[in-house]
Symmetry: C2
DNA sequence: CTGTTAGCGCCTTCAT
DNA sequence: ATGAAGGCGCTAACAG
């Protein structure tokens, strides 16, 4: 490992001068600076980040916490998708990421913020924090910048980042309306915060068109099983809806599987639209039309939020990232005509994406 | 931030003694040690990892590289699933993980090993390294312990960790045989190393039973599209196979979608078995029977490998982790009877798992 | 057993 | 414009 001391010695100057030259300070002669930079390159000098952060007190490192009490892991926890955006943003701004997860309880014994303190990370991004978390207080009063993604809580000194759930639901509902659906039901997930927002959008949309009906509301718990149960319930109605807005893809797929089992065709007999755009949602038969969360954008927004706060001290309360509609094959016009999306669709004008 | 200096001062002892006491060295009086530990706790002292690693030259930190030239990200890159096991193992052994990914090229300008050196990480786990990687040489000659997961290369000083692909394929083929299939084709992916192994298992299995046929081999590239193309090819055969072993789930699902479009029913007319158990493979219709990679076990094995090498200096060349068969609904007996798995199935005796 | 001394590699006053 | 010196927080000899 070559150090500034080495380059100082080979040039017969002092380490202080080398440090200044390398850090672009203006109190060093132009000619000397050039020589210093040259030999630094020749010697393949690399500043030691450890030593630097010991004196600067900043680590250029972020803590990322993937909270996952159910132990779903990368495989089944949507929150991991935000990591793409976080990683991309961190790389762009030259920060390192240290990753924590509480799938087991090993590190759950300490508050996330405590972990941050002991690791000397500059800021934290926490995915999936829940309202009853034992360290909630700590997080909301953290002394470092914190962004919360995919969370049911907000407030405190943290920045709340999420999809614009109501806008996203509106996208789906407008699409169904545009296809000609008037009898649009919802499978909601009222126990969760985003679930409630998505439901509210449905309720407002239905009410605005005079189409609000209590019996077009079913409750699920985000699982495919709850979707299958709801399919049976909807199928047994005398006045069955022609389209269903599910508050999550998993439930939407459950609806599809449930209808399939009952001989109800999707999309010919009933259109289904989901929310999230989970991995491989395009591979279930029929490929799912859904509201895609901009996971990349959310991750990046969270990262930018904490780093901006670090740089400028200015904190954002809340960042809502626009989702977009992904039109695939689980929705059709009520008659059973193939799905289509002509110019002028209200959804299209607000960020629709069409995939084969 | 309270330092050892603080606790030394409040106790009227020297920092050296405090350091020793806190690090469990035996050359310090029991009574003094107790008092030191007590006041350390009272002062809520936290050792500064930065300062420590500057002097010890060890960071208790691992570098994890998710290589992903296609930019698939968490959403579509199977390799991310290994992170669960890596995280779990790291938490258990009290190591931190710093995560890198090359979805963009920002950090791709430097060798992964270089990045490790500059970050002073103790060891590295690299997921998805390819044979034509520009830094291959560097990786194979790394001065720190390295584990390679889900990779086409091996050799050098790195530990190679992967699923036992041939054993996994055999599991699938034995299952098909047990169901009564004699005309078993394969959709292979010969351009990849695991793909070749899976194919070899098919070829050996077929040959051993006198059932090897060139026209039961089709080539794909791991995409659903290649599966759909293969479905068309198989469907047009005069002597169509009754079962197909696909070298990946994505291709298996492509086969299903392709057959669906052609009116060939799965599993009534043809059974499909995949490999990997990608997320939501249980949600495609019909739920996919497949060989599940033990992603958790692989991640943990890789982590243990590098840490063991760090501790003991003993390196493993290769670690093969046993996959298991997951029986779902895409396979049936040739006649079209519902799929079943009675006691005594050869697959069952070697780690089958049945899911609804 | 305990204290003293020297750094680890870098940055930053403060002199010169 | 350059150099010398001190220190970030900790560990590791080496003395006593």
């Amino acid at each position: 490992m070559v150090t500034i001391k080495d380059i100082a010695r080979t040039l017969g100057v002092s380490v202080g001068t080398v440090s200044k030259a390398l850090n672009g300070r203006d109190d060093v002669g132009d000619e000397l600076r050039a020589r210093i930079i040259d030999t630094a390159r020749e010697l393949r000098y690399e500043p030691d980040p450890i030593a630097r952060r010991l004196v600067t007190k900043r680590s250029r490192t972020l803590g990322v916490f993937m909270l996952d009490r159910q132990g779903f892991g990368v495989r089944r926890n949507f929150g991991w998708l935000f990591l793409d955006g976080i990683l991309r943003g961190a790389a762009a701004r030259d920060y390192d990421l240290v990753l924590f997860s509480n799938t087991d309880d090993t590190r759950y014994e300490r508050s996330y913020i405590d972990i941050c303190r002991s690791r000397r990370v500059d800021a934290a991004i926490i995915v999936g924090l829940r309202g009853d978390d034992r360290y909630l207080e700590d997080v909301l009063n953290a002394p470092i910048p914190v962004a919360l993604i995919d969370t049911e809580v907000s407030g405190g000194t943290a920045t709340f980042v999420s999809s614009d759930n109501k806008a996203g639901a509106a996208l789906a509902l407008e699409h169904l309306a545009f296809l000609g659906h008037e009898k649009v039901a919802t499978l909601r997930a009222p126990f969760s915060y985003p679930g409630r927002l998505r439901y509210e959008a449905w309720a407002e949309f239905a009410a605005a068109r005079g189409r609000y009906r209590d019996d077009y509301i079913r409750d699920g718990d985000f699982t495919p099983e709850s979707g299958m149960a709801a399919a049976a319930a909807f199928a047994s109605m005398k006045d069955m809806p022609t389209a269903i807005f599910a508050a999550s893809d998993l439930m939407a797929i459950g609806l599809i599987r449930g209808f399939e089992r009952l001989g109800v065709r999707v999309p010919e007999d009933v259109s289904i639209v989901g929310f999230d755009d989970i991995p491989n949602a395009d591979l279930v038969g029929p490929a799912l039309t859904t509201v895609a969360q901009d996971t990349l954008g959310i991750g990046q927004a969270a990262l930018d939020a904490v780093l901006d706060e670090l740089d400028s001290g200015s904190r954002r309360e809340e960042i809502l990232v626009a989702p977009r509609l992904v039109v695939r094959r689980s929705c059709a016009a009520p008659g059973g005509a193939p799905d289509f999306l002509p110019e002028g669709s209200p959804a299209a004008s607000r960020g629709v994406r069409r995939t084969p």
